[in-house]
Amino acid sequence: MNTESLYAGLEREGCDVKGAIRRMLGDEALYLHLLEAFYQERTWEELQKALERKDYEAAFQTAHLIKGSTATLGLTSIYEAVSRIVEKLRSDSLALMNGEISMDVWDPDFQEFESRIRRFMKIYESCH
């Protein structure tokens, strides 16, 4: 793992790696461990599936989960994108459930989220 280029790549994306490590009381190994866990779990795929089957409850849960993780890991770019999804799902939950409005993978916020995820994966994998 080339941590230096990883950190540099993430920071170019606008991530706050240093802040995250500071929050983990300087435990860099813990940070890398959690980052690997986040990468491996691929929660975003669950979010995509939930959206595809229009299970907004699950989608909200998952999005919220990703939001918490990315906040902790300082993946600011993803956090910002997923926050918008969370808010959209939360505020429009009743309407969504009632079928008044729809939220799907083609939603621009989700598209943005996906592209940021892909960029993260690319950076992460390139440094692996």
């Binding site: 929050r23 009381l25 959690l34 866990a37 849960q61 989960l65 918490g68 906040a71």
Partner: protein, 1266 residues
């Protein structure tokens, strides 16, 4: 030799084994020997002592005291180790086999020679590394054994007879002539040390031998002894020299040669050593049996009866071999019933040996070699010696003879040459065989020793019996050619008489001596004449004497009357007598003789003394027989036998016949008496034999008794020493001891009791009843009887009339006997039975103890009372103070309330202020009294905390410097030598002490004075030692006050001056210093100032304590957090891990759950107060955080209502936070969680919670108080 060198490598193996034989008187010799014997000789010692068979030997125990070497009683199969001493056990014979000891029980019915037995085995096992030592003892044990040792080239040392208590064994051994050293035991030990070192480097020494030195040795030997040893076997000579090196204390051959050249005696000894023949009777008995059967009997049978059988024993040494052969011949002759003339020539080079052999006297040790039947037939016993019988002795001719230099004997039937060849080199051996070739007859026999052979002479010497080394000589055989040694005649001791042989004469011209011719002429013409001496023996005859003198039948004799004709006997005797009587020539004429049968004639007889040249008479008388024409001058008498004379002769002859008859009768009688005497003598001999054997038995018993006796002697000495110890102990101990028997008669008492009770030596044996004891209070006799009955000791305290007090103890005196009688099948077959013999009374003077005891009791009583009153006082004080404190609190509180009011008049305010000041003073007073009472009651305990040692002093100086400034005093403070370590300090009490002393200093120092506070710090043994000095320039302490300044309630008063304070300050100070294990002292000078010095020691804190302390004090927040249990509910595991990690860094124990339901369940199941807080994520599956919080709050357990619950949310809206509080949470933290925020939130919650609990508790207490 090489082989032995390698053996030496073994560490425990002895380099040589010393056998020590001893008997009566040996113990003493052994003690001396062992005392001086070094313990590191590397030798093993085996002691063979004649021991009583049924008596347990204490010998090893006794001898063990004289040496540091282990003394071990030998056991069968035991291996000998160097520097060890082995003792023969009783009843056994001991032998050694390589390095193992073998034991064998011996036969008591026979006379036993254990020393001989051991020495023989030692010689076989250790050869030239064997050493035999013979110490004091009677008999001849060891004498045969040392022969074996000698043969193996071992060393023999004998105790000098003068130093021996019993010199039998040493003398017998010395008589063999083969003993190397004769020393006293002390010197034997010294020699041992020397031998040990010599043996160690003997091989090195022998390598030094070179030919030059050896030839020197030979030349010295030749000078001294006339014997050329050059062709003797070098190894034999070297071995002997090696031995002599040890004995003469020379370290190498060169030294020895020098020594040899200076000491001719040593040369003689060496020569003798080389020659030394170890021989004995019938050595190799089976060889001699064969010799007898195949050679001797053959010789006796063959050849004519009159022919002499000639035997040569070459190298006969001390004659045993020669006598053995003579005995064999004698036996064989008896068996075959043949009588032959036997001549045995026995020769040896050694004159001493020949002398000894010639005497034919041998010690009683020969009984081992000679069978009893031979002993009785061929030896005569004289004392403890055996003498060879005359008929055997006469068969042998002993002569000193050198086989190589002196001409050999000839025409021999048998040559016995045993163990002689082995001394010679091959050259000499060949010479010897050629000499034998000349000396032996054809078909003569040669008898050699066990290890000898004729090698390449089988043509000359045919084997008869190969095993027994018997060969037959073949005179026609040819000897191989070899170089011969020149016989050196010059070396003969004595000049040979010139011998004139016939051949010699023939070579000369014929020269007759005149006397010879004269004699011839005279004889031709002289009448028959005989020259006789005074004994009538014929010396010489002249002329034709054969007519008158006749050789008689029977024994040959020179007696004239026996030789002369019968009819001339009377006439001759008459004329000789007449001539001698008259001293002149006497002639008798007309003596009728019938010389030729039938022709009687008259002859004349003349006898005249022969005179020498000077006309003196000689012993000789000439008797002349004259026939025919006579023409005599001088005294001529007519010889006529008249009838009267004839008659007389007749009568005389008759008388003679009667006398002869009588004589014959007498002789017959004498013979019969003689026969009787012979028989009586035989009986006496038998009786003597028996006496002899019983004497021997007595001797051995005596020896055993002697050994036992000396052992007992040693035991007695030990007992005497112990007795002395006991007596000294008893006389010096200050305890009176009185021993009485069963009838209370005094047996023994100590000196101490004698001085106290007036007992004198004469009282021993008197009854206790008649002694007056000064004890009025007890019945001594009664008590004694009681103890005798009960067998139980009694102790009594008793005061004597003299005012002294005694502890009297009466105990039974028992004799412990082991009872072997009740040998039932009971478990205790052997019981110990105590037998009461009397009583022991001990008197201990307890006067002083009793007095002391009384004093102690009184003092204890006083002490108890004092303590009790003191306690009462303390209780009173404490109660009083407490009771006073409560109203005082009220007064002070109310006064302060009143003072707080604004509407007060100036007077009132002034009064109230004074009340407040007084009250505060009174409160302080009460507090001090309370403190004092707590200190006295031991209720004050020290409590140490880990602090930096300088901190407290700095804090105090800060406080004091402010106060000093206010009081107008100069204050200085410094710390010396401190390294500001962490120490364990009771800060509260130290502060109290120092503040007290400092405020005192300020109090008693007038304005503008100085107060100094100095702290000296040093370190020692893990402790920091603080010396605090508080000095002022005050008025000082008056001498009168100094004595009681540290007592409570004491205050220095100065006339009317009244000081505030209780007078408890210094008292408390000192109490606290004592409590902390420190010291306090002071120096003071009135008017100049006072200095207090307090010394306290603090342990340095350990790393662990410092770390703990740091954690405690680093942060109040951390302190609150540390060790708490927190439940974390978070479904996002990434976040959860981060939270747990954060909590762990503060020592918080975190438990993690995934949803709200789990939180509820776990919180309930763990019970009340298990978790100090819950971190609750809001957004969770199954049951969200808000719902869970509500349910917990309503759970109704002890802590469910107030356990801190902190919400975690990623939502930043205020609405979310409000919902959290609404649900019952105490706080809410926004994600991502910052550690600081989390910790401060938790700390806040914990603090609030503890305050809340305190508040509740105090509320509760308040309720209770009401």
């Amino acid at each position: 030799m090489e082989k032995k060198m390698t053996k030496k490598g073994n560490s425990t193996q002895p380099n040589c084994v010393v056998g020590i034989g001893a008997s009566a008187g040996g113990l003493e010799a052994l003690q001396q020997l062992l005392t001086y014997l070094p313990s590191n000789t590397g030798m093993a010692f085996v002691i063979i002592q004649h021991l009583a068979p049924d008596h347990k030997s204490l010998l090893s125990e006794i001898l063990g005291k004289y040496t540091v070497m282990p003394v071990i009683e030998a056991a069968n199969g035991m291996r000998v180790q160097k520097n060890h001493i082995y003792m023969i056990p009783p009843k056994y014979n001991i032998e050694i086999e390589s390095d193992t000891l073998r034991l064998q029980e011996y036969d008591h019915s026979k006379i036993n020679h254990p020393v001989d037995i051991f020495f023989r085995s030692l010689a076989v096992a250790y050869e030239n590394r064997s050493i035999a030592v013979i110490l004091s003892g009677t008999g001849s044990d060891g004498t045969n054994g040392i022969r074996s040792i000698k043969e193996a080239n071992g060393l023999i040392i004998v105790q000098s007879p003068e130093s021996s208590k019993f010199d039998g064994m040493p003398r017998n051994a010395i008589s063999t002539g083969i003993v190397d050293m004769i020393r006293n035991p002390e010197n034997i030990a010294r020699e041992m040390a020397h031998i040990a070192s010599s043996i160690a480097d003997s091989s090195a020494r022998m390598q030094l031998s070179d030919n030059e030195l050896m030839s020197k040795v030979f030349s010295i030997l030749k000078q001294v002894t006339n014997i050329n040893y050059q062709y003797y076997k070098q190894t034999t000579i070297l071995r002997r020299i090696e031995r002599r090196l040890v004995v003469t204390h020379n370290t190498n051959l060169r030294e020895y040669v020098t020594y040899l050249s200076k000491n001719p005696d040593e040369a003689k000894v060496l020569a003798k050593e080389v020659l030394i023949g170890v021989t004995c009777f019938f050595r190799d008995p089976e060889y001699f049996d064969t010799l007898k059967e195949r050679v001797i009997k053959e010789l006796l049978r063959s050849g004519s009866k009159s022919e002499q059988i000639r035997v040569w024993v070459a190298g006969c040494s001390t004659g045993e071999e020669a006598y053995s052969i003579a005995i064999l011949f004698m036996e064989a002759m008896e068996e075959l019933n043949i009588r032959r003339d036997i001549k045995i020539f026995a020769t040896d080079l050694d004159g001493d040996a020949i002398n000894k052999a010639g005497r034919g006297v041998y010690g009683d040790n020969i009984i081992e070699d000679v069978s009893v039947s031979r002993l009785s037939r061929y030896f005569t016993r004289k004392g403890n010696k055996y003498v060879v019988r005359h008929d055997i002795r006469t068969m042998i001719i002993f002569a000193q003879h050198n086989v190589f230099q002196d001409p050999p004997f000839g025409k021999l039937d048998l040559i016995s040459c045993r163990n002689l060849l082995i001394y010679f080199q091959t050259v000499l051996q060949r010479n010897l065989f050629s000499i034998f070739h000349v000396a032996l007859k054809d078909k003569g026999y040669l008898f050699l020793g066990r290890s000898e052979s004729v090698f390449d002479y089988d043509d000359v010497y045919r084997v008869i019996s190969a095993n027994e080394k018997i060969f037959m000589h073949n005179a026609s055989g040819k000897l191989p050619v070899h170089e011969k040694i020149d016989y050196s005649m010059q070396t003969m001791d004595r000049a040979l008489e010139p011998v004139y042989s016939a051949a010699h004469e023939l070579n000369e011209d014929i020269q007759y001596k005149p006397s010879e011719l004269e004699t011839k002429v005279f004889e031709e013409f002289m009448p028959a004449c005989a020259l006789i001496d005074d004994n009538n023996e014929v010396w010489r005859t002249y002329g034709d004497i054969s007519l008158f003198l006749v050789v008689p039948v029977g024994m040959m004799t020179a007696d004239l009357y026996s030789l002369v004709r019968e009819d001339l006997k009377i006439a001759v005797s008459t004329v000789v007598r007449e001539s001698r009587l008259q001293g002149k020539k006497v002639i008798y004429d007309s003596i009728p003789v019938e010389i030729e049968a039938g022709h009687p004639e008259n002859i004349a007889l003349s006898a005249s003394p022969v005179l020498d040249r000077r006309g003196e008479r000689t012993d000789y008388t000439a008797v002349v027989f004259i026939r025919g024409i006579r023409n005599f001058e001088g005294d001529i008498r007519q010889y006529r036998i008249d009838s009267a004379a004839s008659q007389r002769i007749m009568n005389l002859e008759n008388e003679l016949k009667v006398a002869q008859e009588n004589l014959r009768q007498t002789v017959t009688e004498l013979e019969s008496v003689n026969a009787e005497l012979q028989a009586a003598n035989e009986e006496l001999l038998t009786a003597n034999e028996e006496l002899q054997s019983s004497n021997e038995e007595l001797q051995s018993v005596n020896e055993e008794l002697y050994t036992v006796n000396s052992e007992y002697q040693i035991k007695v000495n030990e007992l005497a020493a112990v007795n002395d110890d006991m007596a000294n102990f008893l006389s010096t101990t200050l305890v009176g001891i009185l021993m009485v028997d069963r009838n209370l008669n005094i047996r023994k008492f100590t000196e101490y009791i004698a001085t106290e009770f007036n007992i004198v030596d004469q009282d021993v044996g008197r009854s206790l009843r008649y002694l007056s004891f000064n004890f009025g209070t007890i019945d001594m006799i009664g008590l004694c009887k009681e103890v005798l009955e009960t067998m139980k000791p009694i102790e009594k305290h008793c005061a004597s009339v003299a005012g002294k007090t005694y502890l009297i103890r009466i105990a039974p005196y028992n004799i412990i006997e082991k009872n072997h009688e009740n040998q039932n099948l009971d478990s205790d077959a052997i019981t110990e039975q105590k037998k009461l013999k009397g009583l022991v009374l001990t008197f201990v003077d307890t006067t002083k103890q009793v007095d002391d005891q009384q004093q102690i009791e009184e003092m204890a009583k006083a002490l108890r009372q004092a303590v009790k009153s003191s306690q009462e006082k303390e209780t009173f004080l404490s109660h009083m103070s407490h009771d006073m404190r409560t109203p005082m609190t009220a007064i002070l509180g109310l006064t302060q309330l009143e003072l707080a009011k604004t509407d007060l008049t100036e007077d009132t305010r002034d009064s109230l202020s004074k009340i407040e000041i007084s009250s505060r003073y009174l409160m302080g007073l009460i507090d001090e009294i309370l403190e004092t009472s707590r200190i006295n009651a031991g209720k004050v305990v020290t409590l140490t905390t880990t602090v930096r040692e300088n901190t407290l002093c700095k804090d105090i100086s800060d406080i004091i410097s402010g106060q000093a400034k206010d009081a107008g005093l100069e204050f200085s403070f410094r710390i010396n030598g401190s390294q500001d370590h962490y120490v364990l300090m009771d800060t509260e009490h130290v502060e109290r002490i120092l503040l007290n002393l400092l405020s005192n200093a300020m109090k008693f120092t007038p304005a503008h004075g100085k107060v100094k506070f100095m702290v000296d710090v040093s370190y020692e043994n893990g402790q920091s030692i603080h010396t605090y000095r508080i000095a002022d320039t005050g008025k000082g302490i008056s001498p009168g006050f100094r004595n009681h300044m540290f007592l409570p309630f004491e205050q220095e008063t100065n006339g009317s001056e009244v000081r505030e304070g209780t007078g408890l300050g210094l008292y408390i100070c000192r109490s606290l210093v004592d409590l902390l294990g420190g010291t306090i002292s002071y120096t003071s000078e009135v008017g100049k100032g006072t200095e207090f010095v307090v010394t306290l020691k603090y342990d340095l804190a350990t790393e662990e304590q410092i770390r703990l302390q740091n954690r405690e004090t680093r942060n109040y927040e951390d302190q609150l957090l540390y060790g708490k249990n927190v439940l974390v509910a978070e479904d996002n595991h990434i976040n959860a891990e981060v939270i747990v990690k954060m909590l762990n860094t503060k020592g918080i124990h975190a438990e993690l759950v995934r949803d709200g339901q789990e939180v509820i369940e776990l919180f309930r199941s763990q019970g009340p107060y298990y978790y100090q807080a819950i971190l609750m994520d809001i957004m969770m599956p199954v049951k969200n955080g808000l719902q869970a919080t509500r349910e917990i709050r309503q759970m109704g357990t002890a802590d469910s209502a107030n356990v801190p619950i902190i919400g975690l949310t990623a939502d930043v809206e205020e609405e979310t936070e409000a919902r959290c509080y609404e649900a019952g949470m105490n706080a809410c933290i926004i994600k991502p969680i910052e550690a600081d925020k989390l910790f401060s939130a938790l700390a806040r919650e914990f603090e609030e919670k503890s305050m809340r609990i305190l508040a509740e508790n105090s509320f509760q207490e308040g309720v209770n108080d009401l």
